[in-house]
Protein backbone atom coordinates (compact mmCIF):
# COMPACT_ATOMS: atom_id res chain seq x y z
CA UNK A 1 0.00 0.00 0.00
CA UNK A 2 1.40 3.43 -0.88
CA UNK A 3 2.11 5.31 2.34
CA UNK A 4 -1.14 7.25 2.18
CA UNK A 5 -1.76 7.28 5.94
CA UNK A 6 1.73 8.49 6.81
CA UNK A 7 1.77 11.05 4.00
CA UNK A 8 -1.67 12.36 4.92
CA UNK A 9 -0.40 12.94 8.43
CA UNK A 10 2.94 14.49 7.62
CA UNK A 11 1.87 16.49 4.57
CA UNK A 12 0.19 19.29 6.49
CA UNK A 13 2.62 20.24 9.22
CA UNK A 14 0.20 22.65 10.89
CA UNK A 15 -2.54 20.02 11.05
CA UNK A 16 -0.02 17.47 12.29
CA UNK A 17 1.11 19.86 15.01
CA UNK A 18 -2.49 20.47 16.07
CA UNK A 19 -3.24 16.74 16.10
CA UNK A 20 -0.15 15.83 18.06
CA UNK A 21 -0.63 18.73 20.45
CA UNK A 22 -4.11 17.42 21.17
CA UNK A 23 -2.84 13.91 21.82
CA UNK A 24 0.15 15.09 23.87
CA UNK A 25 -2.14 17.32 25.92
CA UNK A 26 -4.44 14.37 26.55
CA UNK A 27 -1.61 12.02 27.47
CA UNK A 28 -0.10 14.52 29.90
CA UNK A 29 -3.50 15.38 31.36
CA UNK A 30 -4.31 11.72 31.98
CA UNK A 31 -0.84 10.94 33.33
CA UNK A 32 -1.04 13.91 35.71
CA UNK A 33 -4.52 13.05 36.95
CA UNK A 34 -3.91 9.32 37.30
CA UNK A 35 -0.42 9.98 38.70
CA UNK A 36 -1.86 12.36 41.28
CA UNK A 37 -4.43 9.76 42.25
CA UNK A 38 -1.71 7.15 42.51
CA UNK A 39 0.52 9.57 44.42
CA UNK A 40 -2.22 10.37 46.92
CA UNK A 41 -3.14 6.71 47.27
CA UNK A 42 0.46 5.76 47.89
CA UNK A 43 0.97 8.59 50.35
CA UNK A 44 -1.93 7.48 52.52
CA UNK A 45 -0.30 4.14 53.28
CA UNK A 46 3.38 5.07 52.95
CA UNK A 47 4.16 4.27 56.56
CA UNK A 48 2.49 0.86 56.47
CA UNK A 49 3.85 -0.16 53.06
CA UNK A 50 7.43 0.60 54.14
CA UNK A 51 7.12 -1.07 57.53
CA UNK A 52 8.73 -4.34 56.46
CA UNK A 53 6.30 -6.01 58.88
CA UNK A 54 3.95 -8.93 58.18
CA UNK A 55 1.29 -8.13 60.76
CA UNK A 56 0.09 -5.05 62.63
CA UNK A 57 -1.37 -5.42 66.10
CA UNK A 58 -3.69 -2.54 66.97
CA UNK A 59 -6.33 -1.65 69.51
CA UNK A 60 -9.86 -2.65 68.65
CA UNK A 61 -11.63 -0.72 65.88
CA UNK A 62 -8.67 1.21 64.52
CA UNK A 63 -9.75 2.05 60.97
CA UNK A 64 -6.49 3.59 59.77
CA UNK A 65 -2.94 4.18 60.92
CA UNK A 66 -3.42 7.76 62.04
CA UNK A 67 -6.24 6.71 64.31
CA UNK A 68 -4.23 4.36 66.56
CA UNK A 69 -5.26 4.10 70.21
CA UNK A 70 -2.60 3.46 72.89
CA UNK A 71 -2.62 0.13 74.66
CA UNK A 72 -0.41 -1.58 77.22
CA UNK A 73 3.21 -2.23 76.29
CA UNK A 74 2.95 -5.56 78.14
CA UNK A 75 1.16 -6.98 75.14
CA UNK A 76 4.50 -6.87 73.33
CA UNK A 77 5.74 -9.78 75.43
CA UNK A 78 2.50 -11.68 74.84
CA UNK A 79 2.94 -11.16 71.09
CA UNK A 80 6.56 -12.31 71.21
CA UNK A 81 5.46 -15.47 73.04
CA UNK A 82 3.16 -16.55 70.21
CA UNK A 83 4.62 -19.37 68.08
CA UNK A 84 5.60 -18.20 64.61
CA UNK A 85 6.43 -14.64 65.64
CA UNK A 86 10.01 -13.97 64.62
CA UNK A 87 10.24 -10.35 65.66
CA UNK A 88 7.89 -7.86 67.30
CA UNK A 89 8.42 -4.16 67.91
CA UNK A 90 6.45 -1.28 69.34
CA UNK A 91 5.47 1.66 67.15
CA UNK A 92 3.94 5.02 67.84
CA UNK A 93 2.26 7.10 65.14
CA UNK A 94 0.43 10.12 66.42
CA UNK A 95 -0.20 13.75 65.63
CA UNK A 96 1.39 16.40 67.80
CA UNK A 97 2.57 20.00 67.51
CA UNK A 98 5.86 21.26 66.08
CA UNK A 99 6.89 24.72 67.21
CA UNK A 100 8.89 26.76 64.72
CA UNK A 101 11.54 29.35 65.57
CA UNK A 102 9.12 32.11 64.65
CA UNK A 103 6.73 30.89 67.33
CA UNK A 104 4.23 29.44 64.90
CA UNK A 105 3.04 25.85 65.27
CA UNK A 106 2.39 23.10 62.78
CA UNK A 107 0.88 19.70 63.17
CA UNK A 108 3.30 16.78 62.58
CA UNK A 109 2.91 13.04 62.75
CA UNK A 110 5.42 11.58 65.16
CA UNK A 111 6.65 8.10 64.26
CA UNK A 112 8.37 6.41 67.18
CA UNK A 113 10.50 3.41 66.24
CA UNK A 114 13.12 1.04 67.55
CA UNK A 115 16.21 2.30 65.76
CA UNK A 116 17.96 -1.06 66.02
CA UNK A 117 15.12 -2.97 64.41
CA UNK A 118 14.76 -3.35 60.65
CA UNK A 119 11.00 -2.79 60.86
CA UNK A 120 9.65 0.71 60.24
CA UNK A 121 12.74 2.80 59.68
CA UNK A 122 12.89 6.06 57.78
CA UNK A 123 13.83 5.30 54.19
CA UNK A 124 15.58 7.37 51.52
CA UNK A 125 17.75 9.13 54.09
CA UNK A 126 19.70 11.74 52.12
CA UNK A 127 21.37 13.61 54.96
CA UNK A 128 22.46 12.21 58.34
CA UNK A 129 21.63 8.58 59.17
CA UNK A 130 19.09 6.53 61.06
CA UNK A 131 21.59 5.60 63.78
CA UNK A 132 21.82 9.30 64.68
CA UNK A 133 18.31 8.97 66.08
CA UNK A 134 19.96 7.38 69.12
CA UNK A 135 21.22 10.81 70.14
CA UNK A 136 19.01 12.51 72.73
CA UNK A 137 15.91 14.26 71.30
CA UNK A 138 16.96 13.40 67.75
CA UNK A 139 14.43 13.53 64.90
CA UNK A 140 14.56 12.91 61.15
CA UNK A 141 12.08 14.50 58.78
CA UNK A 142 11.63 14.86 55.04
CA UNK A 143 13.37 17.65 53.18
CA UNK A 144 10.05 18.43 51.44
CA UNK A 145 8.79 19.96 54.65
CA UNK A 146 11.86 22.00 55.60
CA UNK A 147 10.20 25.27 54.70
CA UNK A 148 6.87 24.36 56.26
CA UNK A 149 8.56 23.47 59.57
CA UNK A 150 11.14 26.27 59.40
CA UNK A 151 14.11 23.90 59.22
CA UNK A 152 17.19 24.86 57.24
CA UNK A 153 19.85 22.37 58.27
CA UNK A 154 20.81 19.40 60.41
CA UNK A 155 21.57 20.33 64.01
CA UNK A 156 18.76 22.86 64.44
CA UNK A 157 16.71 22.57 67.60
CA UNK A 158 12.92 22.91 67.80
CA UNK A 159 10.13 22.01 70.16
CA UNK A 160 7.74 19.11 69.67
CA UNK A 161 4.85 18.68 72.07
CA UNK A 162 6.65 20.94 74.50
CA UNK A 163 9.87 18.87 74.39
CA UNK A 164 13.23 19.71 72.84
CA UNK A 165 13.89 18.11 69.44
CA UNK A 166 17.03 18.27 67.33
CA UNK A 167 17.07 17.57 63.59
CA UNK A 168 19.73 14.91 62.77
CA UNK A 169 18.83 14.01 59.24
CA UNK A 170 16.57 14.36 56.23
CA UNK A 171 14.76 11.88 54.04
CA UNK A 172 13.58 12.44 50.48
CA UNK A 173 10.11 11.73 49.12
CA UNK A 174 8.35 10.56 52.29
CA UNK A 175 5.12 12.38 51.88
CA UNK A 176 2.18 12.44 54.19
CA UNK A 177 -1.29 12.44 52.71
CA UNK A 178 -2.40 14.85 55.39
CA UNK A 179 -0.84 18.25 55.95
CA UNK A 180 1.17 16.80 58.88
CA UNK A 181 4.67 15.68 57.90
CA UNK A 182 6.10 12.47 59.33
CA UNK A 183 8.79 13.08 61.98
CA UNK A 184 10.79 9.96 62.86
CA UNK A 185 12.27 9.53 66.31
CA UNK A 186 12.90 6.83 68.92
CA UNK A 187 9.98 5.14 70.60
CA UNK A 188 10.91 6.77 73.91
CA UNK A 189 11.08 10.26 72.41
CA UNK A 190 7.80 9.69 70.64
CA UNK A 191 6.12 8.90 73.94
CA UNK A 192 7.30 12.28 75.22
CA UNK A 193 6.55 14.24 72.05
CA UNK A 194 3.06 12.76 71.66
CA UNK A 195 2.31 12.69 75.37
CA UNK A 196 1.77 8.95 75.54
CA UNK A 197 2.19 7.25 78.93
CA UNK A 198 5.47 5.36 79.41
CA UNK A 199 3.89 1.91 79.52
CA UNK A 200 1.80 2.40 76.40
CA UNK A 201 2.30 1.75 72.70
CA UNK A 202 0.00 2.31 69.74
CA UNK A 203 0.98 -0.53 67.45
CA UNK A 204 3.02 -3.70 67.57
CA UNK A 205 4.67 -4.71 64.33
CA UNK A 206 5.21 -8.40 63.79
CA UNK A 207 7.69 -10.14 61.53
CA UNK A 208 7.00 -13.83 61.07
CA UNK A 209 9.59 -16.47 61.84
CA UNK A 210 10.87 -18.21 58.71
CA UNK A 211 8.37 -20.79 57.50
CA UNK A 212 5.56 -19.54 59.74
CA UNK A 213 2.05 -19.37 58.31
CA UNK A 214 0.62 -15.86 58.25
CA UNK A 215 -3.00 -16.77 58.89
CA UNK A 216 -2.09 -19.26 61.56
CA UNK A 217 0.05 -16.71 63.42
CA UNK A 218 -2.70 -14.15 63.13
CA UNK A 219 -5.16 -16.64 64.55
CA UNK A 220 -2.79 -17.46 67.43
CA UNK A 221 -2.24 -13.76 68.17
CA UNK A 222 -5.96 -13.10 68.36
CA UNK A 223 -6.32 -16.07 70.67
CA UNK A 224 -3.48 -15.22 73.02
CA UNK A 225 -3.53 -11.40 73.07
CA UNK A 226 -6.75 -9.90 74.32
CA UNK A 227 -8.50 -6.74 73.15
CA UNK A 228 -6.48 -6.25 70.00
CA UNK A 229 -6.98 -6.59 66.29
CA UNK A 230 -4.41 -8.16 64.02
CA UNK A 231 -4.15 -6.98 60.43
CA UNK A 232 -1.87 -8.09 57.68
CA UNK A 233 0.23 -5.24 56.33
CA UNK A 234 -1.59 -5.22 53.01
CA UNK A 235 -4.97 -5.33 54.72
CA UNK A 236 -4.13 -2.41 57.02
CA UNK A 237 -2.67 -0.54 54.07
CA UNK A 238 -5.90 -1.00 52.09
CA UNK A 239 -8.01 0.08 55.07
CA UNK A 240 -5.98 3.24 55.54
CA UNK A 241 -6.05 4.08 51.86
CA UNK A 242 -9.76 3.41 51.65
CA UNK A 243 -10.41 5.64 54.63
CA UNK A 244 -8.51 8.61 53.28
CA UNK A 245 -9.47 8.21 49.66
CA UNK A 246 -13.14 7.42 50.01
CA UNK A 247 -14.49 7.93 53.52
CA UNK A 248 -13.11 11.46 53.72
CA UNK A 249 -14.10 12.27 50.14
CA UNK A 250 -10.63 13.61 49.38
CA UNK A 251 -9.82 10.66 47.17
CA UNK A 252 -13.16 10.81 45.42
CA UNK A 253 -12.34 14.32 44.27
CA UNK A 254 -8.98 13.14 42.94
CA UNK A 255 -10.59 10.09 41.35
CA UNK A 256 -13.25 12.21 39.68
CA UNK A 257 -10.51 14.52 38.40
CA UNK A 258 -8.69 11.45 37.02
CA UNK A 259 -11.85 10.20 35.30
CA UNK A 260 -12.48 13.70 33.94
CA UNK A 261 -8.90 13.72 32.68
CA UNK A 262 -9.64 10.52 30.81
CA UNK A 263 -12.87 11.89 29.36
CA UNK A 264 -11.37 15.24 28.36
CA UNK A 265 -8.34 13.46 26.96
CA UNK A 266 -10.52 11.18 24.88
CA UNK A 267 -12.65 14.05 23.62
CA UNK A 268 -9.59 16.08 22.61
CA UNK A 269 -8.04 13.09 20.82
CA UNK A 270 -11.37 12.23 19.18
CA UNK A 271 -11.80 15.78 17.98
CA UNK A 272 -8.30 16.05 16.52
CA UNK A 273 -8.36 12.64 14.83
CA UNK A 274 -11.84 13.36 13.50
CA UNK A 275 -10.73 16.71 12.10
CA UNK A 276 -7.72 15.04 10.45
CA UNK A 277 -9.98 12.48 8.78
CA UNK A 278 -12.51 15.05 7.68
CA UNK A 279 -9.69 17.09 6.14
CA UNK A 280 -9.11 14.16 3.79
CA UNK A 281 -12.73 13.19 3.29
CA UNK A 282 -12.65 13.93 -0.44
CA UNK A 283 -9.67 11.64 -0.87
CA UNK A 284 -11.46 8.86 0.96
CA UNK A 285 -14.43 9.47 -1.33
CA UNK A 286 -12.13 9.14 -4.33
CA UNK A 287 -10.67 5.94 -2.92
CA UNK A 288 -14.15 4.50 -2.57
CA UNK A 289 -15.10 5.62 -6.07
CA UNK A 290 -11.98 3.92 -7.41
CA UNK A 291 -13.29 0.69 -6.00
CA UNK A 292 -11.54 0.51 -2.65
CA UNK A 293 -13.56 -1.60 -0.25
CA UNK A 294 -14.48 -0.01 3.05
CA UNK A 295 -11.87 -2.18 4.76
CA UNK A 296 -9.12 -0.52 2.70
CA UNK A 297 -10.32 2.94 3.67
CA UNK A 298 -10.62 1.90 7.31
CA UNK A 299 -7.07 0.58 7.18
CA UNK A 300 -5.79 3.96 6.00
CA UNK A 301 -7.72 5.78 8.74
CA UNK A 302 -6.63 3.28 11.39
CA UNK A 303 -3.02 3.57 10.27
CA UNK A 304 -3.27 7.34 10.60
CA UNK A 305 -4.68 6.94 14.09
CA UNK A 306 -2.03 4.41 15.09
CA UNK A 307 0.83 6.57 13.81
CA UNK A 308 -0.66 9.56 15.65
CA UNK A 309 -0.95 7.45 18.80
CA UNK A 310 2.66 6.27 18.69
CA UNK A 311 4.09 9.74 18.11
CA UNK A 312 1.64 11.43 20.48
CA UNK A 313 2.34 8.90 23.22
CA UNK A 314 6.10 9.22 22.83
CA UNK A 315 6.00 13.01 22.99
CA UNK A 316 3.41 12.91 25.76
CA UNK A 317 5.60 10.61 27.81
CA UNK A 318 8.61 12.89 27.37
CA UNK A 319 6.58 15.86 28.65
CA UNK A 320 5.08 13.70 31.41
CA UNK A 321 8.50 12.61 32.64
CA UNK A 322 9.44 16.25 33.12
CA UNK A 323 6.15 17.00 34.86
CA UNK A 324 6.48 13.94 37.11
CA UNK A 325 10.10 14.79 37.88
CA UNK A 326 9.15 18.36 38.71
CA UNK A 327 6.36 17.22 41.01
CA UNK A 328 8.78 15.29 43.22
CA UNK A 329 9.82 18.52 44.86
CA UNK A 330 6.26 19.61 45.51
CA UNK A 331 3.75 18.65 48.14
CA UNK A 332 1.67 16.50 45.79
CA UNK A 333 3.65 13.80 44.06
CA UNK A 334 2.64 12.55 40.62
CA UNK A 335 3.63 8.92 40.29
CA UNK A 336 4.19 7.19 36.98
CA UNK A 337 5.31 3.59 37.44
CA UNK A 338 6.48 1.74 34.30
CA UNK A 339 3.21 -0.18 34.17
CA UNK A 340 1.36 3.13 33.93
CA UNK A 341 3.62 4.36 31.12
CA UNK A 342 2.98 1.11 29.23
CA UNK A 343 -0.72 1.25 30.02
CA UNK A 344 -0.82 4.81 28.70
CA UNK A 345 0.45 3.57 25.36
CA UNK A 346 -2.44 1.17 25.01
CA UNK A 347 -4.85 3.80 26.29
CA UNK A 348 -3.56 6.34 23.76
CA UNK A 349 -3.85 3.75 21.01
CA UNK A 350 -7.35 2.93 22.17
CA UNK A 351 -8.32 6.61 22.25
CA UNK A 352 -6.93 7.26 18.78
CA UNK A 353 -8.47 4.14 17.26
CA UNK A 354 -11.75 4.85 19.06
CA UNK A 355 -11.70 8.38 17.70
CA UNK A 356 -10.91 7.00 14.25
CA UNK A 357 -13.97 4.78 14.49
CA UNK A 358 -16.05 7.89 14.99
CA UNK A 359 -14.57 9.41 11.87
CA UNK A 360 -14.97 6.14 9.96
CA UNK A 361 -18.67 6.54 10.56
CA UNK A 362 -18.39 9.85 8.72
CA UNK A 363 -16.46 8.26 5.86
CA UNK A 364 -19.04 5.51 5.37
CA UNK A 365 -21.66 8.22 4.92
CA UNK A 366 -19.77 10.08 2.21
CA UNK A 367 -22.08 11.25 -0.55
CA UNK A 368 -20.70 9.33 -3.52
CA UNK A 369 -21.58 12.16 -5.85
CA UNK A 370 -19.06 14.37 -4.06
CA UNK A 371 -16.28 12.89 -6.15
CA UNK A 372 -17.95 14.25 -9.28
CA UNK A 373 -17.99 17.79 -8.00
CA UNK A 374 -15.12 19.98 -9.07
Amino acid sequence: MPPLARRNLFHDKVRLTVTLTGIVFSVVLIVVQLGLFLGFTTATSNLIDHSNADLWVTSKNVPYVEQGVPFSERKLNQVRAVPGVGDAQKLISRWTQWKRHDGGQDSVQIVGINVDDPMERPWNVVEGNVAALKFPDAVILDELYKQKLGVTSVGEVFEIGGHRARVVGFTRGIRSFTTSPYVFTTFKNAQDFANIPEDQTMFILVKLAPGANLEQVRHELLEHVKDVEVRTTSEFSRMTTFYWMFTTGAGVAVLIAAVLGLVVGFVVVAQTIYATTVDHIREFGTLKAMGAPNSYVYKVIMNQAAISAVIGHTLGMIVSVFVVHGSQKGGAAILMPPSMAAGMFFLTLLMCVGAALVSINKVTRIDPAMVFKG
Binding site: P3, N8, F10, T286, G291, P293, P368, V371, K373
Partner: protein, 251 residues
Protein backbone atom coordinates in the same frame (compact mmCIF):
# COMPACT_ATOMS: atom_id res chain seq x y z
CA UNK B 1 -26.42 -2.51 -38.96
CA UNK B 2 -26.03 -5.18 -36.29
CA UNK B 3 -26.32 -4.82 -32.55
CA UNK B 4 -23.28 -5.65 -30.39
CA UNK B 5 -22.62 -6.39 -26.70
CA UNK B 6 -22.88 -3.13 -24.74
CA UNK B 7 -20.27 -2.20 -22.16
CA UNK B 8 -23.08 -0.44 -20.33
CA UNK B 9 -26.78 -1.05 -20.95
CA UNK B 10 -29.30 1.14 -19.18
CA UNK B 11 -33.02 0.38 -19.35
CA UNK B 12 -35.92 2.36 -17.95
CA UNK B 13 -33.64 3.81 -15.30
CA UNK B 14 -35.15 6.02 -12.65
CA UNK B 15 -33.53 7.64 -9.68
CA UNK B 16 -35.40 9.40 -6.95
CA UNK B 17 -33.65 11.27 -4.16
CA UNK B 18 -35.68 11.00 -0.99
CA UNK B 19 -35.40 14.64 0.02
CA UNK B 20 -38.21 16.77 1.31
CA UNK B 21 -41.82 15.69 1.40
CA UNK B 22 -42.09 14.45 -2.16
CA UNK B 23 -38.50 13.70 -3.10
CA UNK B 24 -36.75 14.63 -6.31
CA UNK B 25 -36.92 12.54 -9.45
CA UNK B 26 -33.44 12.92 -10.94
CA UNK B 27 -33.77 10.36 -13.76
CA UNK B 28 -36.98 9.25 -15.44
CA UNK B 29 -36.92 6.14 -17.59
CA UNK B 30 -33.52 6.52 -19.22
CA UNK B 31 -32.50 4.01 -21.91
CA UNK B 32 -28.91 4.03 -23.07
CA UNK B 33 -26.23 1.72 -24.43
CA UNK B 34 -22.52 2.44 -24.43
CA UNK B 35 -20.36 0.23 -26.59
CA UNK B 36 -16.73 -0.74 -26.35
CA UNK B 37 -14.63 1.52 -28.57
CA UNK B 38 -17.13 4.33 -28.36
CA UNK B 39 -16.68 7.82 -26.97
CA UNK B 40 -20.02 9.10 -25.79
CA UNK B 41 -20.60 12.66 -24.69
CA UNK B 42 -23.27 13.28 -22.10
CA UNK B 43 -24.49 16.85 -22.13
CA UNK B 44 -27.20 18.89 -20.54
CA UNK B 45 -27.82 21.81 -18.23
CA UNK B 46 -26.88 21.78 -14.58
CA UNK B 47 -29.22 19.64 -12.52
CA UNK B 48 -30.40 17.72 -15.55
CA UNK B 49 -29.28 14.36 -14.16
CA UNK B 50 -26.00 13.82 -16.05
CA UNK B 51 -23.88 13.25 -12.99
CA UNK B 52 -26.53 11.06 -11.43
CA UNK B 53 -26.58 8.93 -14.57
CA UNK B 54 -22.79 8.80 -14.60
CA UNK B 55 -22.76 7.83 -10.90
CA UNK B 56 -25.23 5.03 -11.48
CA UNK B 57 -23.36 3.76 -14.53
CA UNK B 58 -20.23 3.95 -12.37
CA UNK B 59 -21.88 1.82 -9.68
CA UNK B 60 -21.43 4.62 -7.17
CA UNK B 61 -25.11 5.38 -6.81
CA UNK B 62 -27.87 2.81 -6.79
CA UNK B 63 -30.88 3.15 -9.04
CA UNK B 64 -34.41 3.43 -7.75
CA UNK B 65 -35.76 1.22 -10.52
CA UNK B 66 -34.85 -0.05 -13.95
CA UNK B 67 -31.90 -2.05 -15.11
CA UNK B 68 -28.20 -1.23 -15.46
CA UNK B 69 -25.86 -3.84 -16.88
CA UNK B 70 -22.14 -3.14 -16.59
CA UNK B 71 -19.86 -5.46 -18.53
CA UNK B 72 -22.81 -7.79 -18.89
CA UNK B 73 -23.64 -7.88 -15.19
CA UNK B 74 -26.84 -6.50 -13.71
CA UNK B 75 -25.87 -4.04 -10.99
CA UNK B 76 -29.30 -2.92 -9.80
CA UNK B 77 -29.94 -4.86 -6.65
CA UNK B 78 -26.31 -5.57 -5.89
CA UNK B 79 -25.31 -4.89 -2.31
CA UNK B 80 -23.04 -2.01 -1.33
CA UNK B 81 -20.31 -4.53 -0.63
CA UNK B 82 -20.43 -5.94 -4.17
CA UNK B 83 -20.30 -2.61 -5.96
CA UNK B 84 -16.70 -1.58 -5.12
CA UNK B 85 -15.35 -4.82 -6.56
CA UNK B 86 -17.37 -4.23 -9.73
CA UNK B 87 -16.01 -0.69 -10.02
CA UNK B 88 -12.49 -1.84 -9.41
CA UNK B 89 -12.73 -4.53 -12.06
CA UNK B 90 -14.51 -2.63 -14.82
CA UNK B 91 -14.50 1.12 -14.39
CA UNK B 92 -11.90 3.87 -14.39
CA UNK B 93 -12.85 7.37 -13.30
CA UNK B 94 -11.53 10.72 -14.44
CA UNK B 95 -12.74 13.67 -12.42
CA UNK B 96 -13.12 17.35 -13.17
CA UNK B 97 -11.03 18.25 -10.11
CA UNK B 98 -8.51 15.48 -10.90
CA UNK B 99 -8.97 14.05 -7.39
CA UNK B 100 -5.35 13.06 -7.14
CA UNK B 101 -4.02 12.33 -3.68
CA UNK B 102 -1.97 15.45 -2.95
CA UNK B 103 0.30 13.66 -0.51
CA UNK B 104 1.31 10.98 -3.00
CA UNK B 105 3.60 11.46 -5.97
CA UNK B 106 2.26 11.01 -9.51
CA UNK B 107 3.68 7.49 -9.60
CA UNK B 108 2.25 6.62 -6.18
CA UNK B 109 -1.17 7.87 -7.27
CA UNK B 110 -1.11 5.32 -10.07
CA UNK B 111 0.39 2.67 -7.79
CA UNK B 112 -2.50 3.12 -5.39
CA UNK B 113 -4.95 1.86 -8.00
CA UNK B 114 -2.72 -1.14 -8.66
CA UNK B 115 -2.44 -1.81 -4.94
CA UNK B 116 -6.23 -1.90 -4.78
CA UNK B 117 -6.12 -4.60 -7.42
CA UNK B 118 -3.72 -6.59 -5.28
CA UNK B 119 -0.66 -6.14 -7.47
CA UNK B 120 2.67 -6.42 -5.67
CA UNK B 121 4.61 -3.25 -4.96
CA UNK B 122 7.45 -4.03 -7.35
CA UNK B 123 5.10 -4.84 -10.23
CA UNK B 124 2.89 -1.87 -9.41
CA UNK B 125 5.86 0.46 -9.55
CA UNK B 126 6.90 -0.87 -12.94
CA UNK B 127 3.38 -0.72 -14.31
CA UNK B 128 2.83 2.79 -12.94
CA UNK B 129 5.97 3.93 -14.72
CA UNK B 130 4.70 2.40 -17.98
CA UNK B 131 1.34 4.11 -17.62
CA UNK B 132 2.93 7.47 -16.92
CA UNK B 133 5.14 6.93 -19.96
CA UNK B 134 2.01 6.30 -22.02
CA UNK B 135 0.50 9.64 -21.00
CA UNK B 136 3.81 11.39 -21.58
CA UNK B 137 4.67 11.94 -17.94
CA UNK B 138 7.30 9.28 -17.41
CA UNK B 139 9.74 11.77 -15.97
CA UNK B 140 7.18 13.07 -13.48
CA UNK B 141 6.94 9.87 -11.47
CA UNK B 142 8.22 11.45 -8.28
CA UNK B 143 6.50 14.82 -8.75
CA UNK B 144 3.68 15.69 -6.43
CA UNK B 145 0.34 16.97 -7.79
CA UNK B 146 1.03 20.44 -6.45
CA UNK B 147 4.05 20.62 -8.75
CA UNK B 148 2.11 19.59 -11.87
CA UNK B 149 0.06 21.72 -14.26
CA UNK B 150 -3.68 21.11 -14.65
CA UNK B 151 -3.16 19.16 -17.84
CA UNK B 152 -0.44 17.05 -16.28
CA UNK B 153 -2.66 16.31 -13.30
CA UNK B 154 -5.44 15.17 -15.60
CA UNK B 155 -3.03 12.95 -17.52
CA UNK B 156 -1.92 11.38 -14.23
CA UNK B 157 -5.61 10.87 -13.41
CA UNK B 158 -6.06 9.15 -16.77
CA UNK B 159 -3.04 6.95 -16.12
CA UNK B 160 -4.55 6.09 -12.75
CA UNK B 161 -7.92 5.31 -14.34
CA UNK B 162 -6.18 3.00 -16.80
CA UNK B 163 -4.14 1.28 -14.10
CA UNK B 164 -6.94 -1.10 -13.28
CA UNK B 165 -7.21 -1.97 -17.00
CA UNK B 166 -10.94 -1.21 -17.01
CA UNK B 167 -13.19 -1.67 -20.03
CA UNK B 168 -15.10 1.48 -19.17
CA UNK B 169 -13.83 5.01 -18.54
CA UNK B 170 -16.23 7.51 -16.98
CA UNK B 171 -15.13 11.11 -16.99
CA UNK B 172 -16.82 14.05 -15.39
CA UNK B 173 -15.96 17.35 -17.05
CA UNK B 174 -12.35 16.31 -17.64
CA UNK B 175 -11.55 19.50 -19.58
CA UNK B 176 -13.45 22.01 -17.49
CA UNK B 177 -10.44 23.08 -15.48
CA UNK B 178 -8.05 23.10 -18.43
CA UNK B 179 -7.13 25.62 -21.11
CA UNK B 180 -8.16 24.81 -24.67
CA UNK B 181 -4.79 23.40 -25.72
CA UNK B 182 -4.51 21.12 -22.69
CA UNK B 183 -8.17 20.22 -23.01
CA UNK B 184 -7.55 19.07 -26.58
CA UNK B 185 -4.61 16.95 -25.46
CA UNK B 186 -6.76 15.28 -22.82
CA UNK B 187 -9.61 14.70 -25.27
CA UNK B 188 -7.23 13.21 -27.81
CA UNK B 189 -6.08 10.86 -25.11
CA UNK B 190 -9.68 9.92 -24.28
CA UNK B 191 -10.43 9.47 -27.96
CA UNK B 192 -7.44 7.19 -28.31
CA UNK B 193 -8.62 5.14 -25.34
CA UNK B 194 -11.94 4.59 -27.08
CA UNK B 195 -10.91 4.21 -30.67
CA UNK B 196 -7.52 2.57 -30.42
CA UNK B 197 -7.83 0.65 -27.20
CA UNK B 198 -11.49 -0.32 -27.40
CA UNK B 199 -12.60 1.23 -24.13
CA UNK B 200 -16.13 2.47 -23.68
CA UNK B 201 -15.65 6.11 -22.73
CA UNK B 202 -18.44 8.27 -21.33
CA UNK B 203 -17.74 11.93 -20.77
CA UNK B 204 -20.04 14.35 -19.02
CA UNK B 205 -19.28 17.78 -20.37
CA UNK B 206 -20.50 21.31 -20.84
CA UNK B 207 -17.53 22.11 -23.01
CA UNK B 208 -18.63 22.70 -26.61
CA UNK B 209 -14.99 22.57 -27.70
CA UNK B 210 -14.96 18.81 -27.23
CA UNK B 211 -18.04 18.00 -29.30
CA UNK B 212 -16.02 16.93 -32.31
CA UNK B 213 -14.45 14.10 -30.31
CA UNK B 214 -17.73 12.37 -29.52
CA UNK B 215 -19.02 9.44 -31.50
CA UNK B 216 -22.41 10.18 -30.02
CA UNK B 217 -23.77 13.06 -28.07
CA UNK B 218 -26.59 12.44 -25.64
CA UNK B 219 -28.43 15.38 -24.17
CA UNK B 220 -30.27 15.04 -20.90
CA UNK B 221 -32.87 17.42 -19.66
CA UNK B 222 -34.98 17.08 -16.54
CA UNK B 223 -33.78 13.55 -16.00
CA UNK B 224 -34.64 12.23 -19.43
CA UNK B 225 -32.74 11.88 -22.68
CA UNK B 226 -33.96 14.67 -24.89
CA UNK B 227 -31.74 14.29 -27.88
CA UNK B 228 -29.50 11.67 -29.45
CA UNK B 229 -27.45 12.38 -32.50
CA UNK B 230 -27.50 8.63 -33.22
CA UNK B 231 -29.82 5.85 -32.18
CA UNK B 232 -28.53 3.06 -29.96
CA UNK B 233 -26.68 1.47 -32.78
CA UNK B 234 -23.01 1.13 -33.43
CA UNK B 235 -21.60 4.18 -35.19
CA UNK B 236 -19.78 3.47 -38.47
CA UNK B 237 -16.43 4.44 -36.95
CA UNK B 238 -16.98 1.85 -34.22
CA UNK B 239 -18.04 -0.81 -36.63
CA UNK B 240 -14.76 -0.56 -38.47
CA UNK B 241 -12.93 -0.57 -35.14
CA UNK B 242 -14.77 -3.68 -34.01
CA UNK B 243 -14.15 -5.33 -37.35
CA UNK B 244 -10.44 -4.67 -37.12
CA UNK B 245 -10.35 -6.27 -33.70
CA UNK B 246 -12.64 -9.12 -34.58
CA UNK B 247 -10.70 -10.28 -37.63
CA UNK B 248 -7.10 -11.14 -36.80
CA UNK B 249 -4.69 -9.97 -39.41
CA UNK B 250 -7.00 -7.34 -40.81
CA UNK B 251 -5.28 -4.66 -38.78
Amino acid sequence: MGKMQSAIAVRQLTKKYEEGATGTLALRGVDLDVHPGELLLLMGPSGSGKTTLLSIMGCILTATSGSVRVAGREVVGLSEKQLPALRLENIGFVFQGFNLFPTLSAGENVELMLDLKGISKARAKKRAQELLDQVGLGEKYDSFPADLSGGQKQRVAIARALAGDPGIILADEPTAALDSHTGRTVMEMMSELAHKRGRAVVIVTHDSRVLSYGDRIITIEDGAISDKNEADVIPPSLLSHQLVHAVPGLA
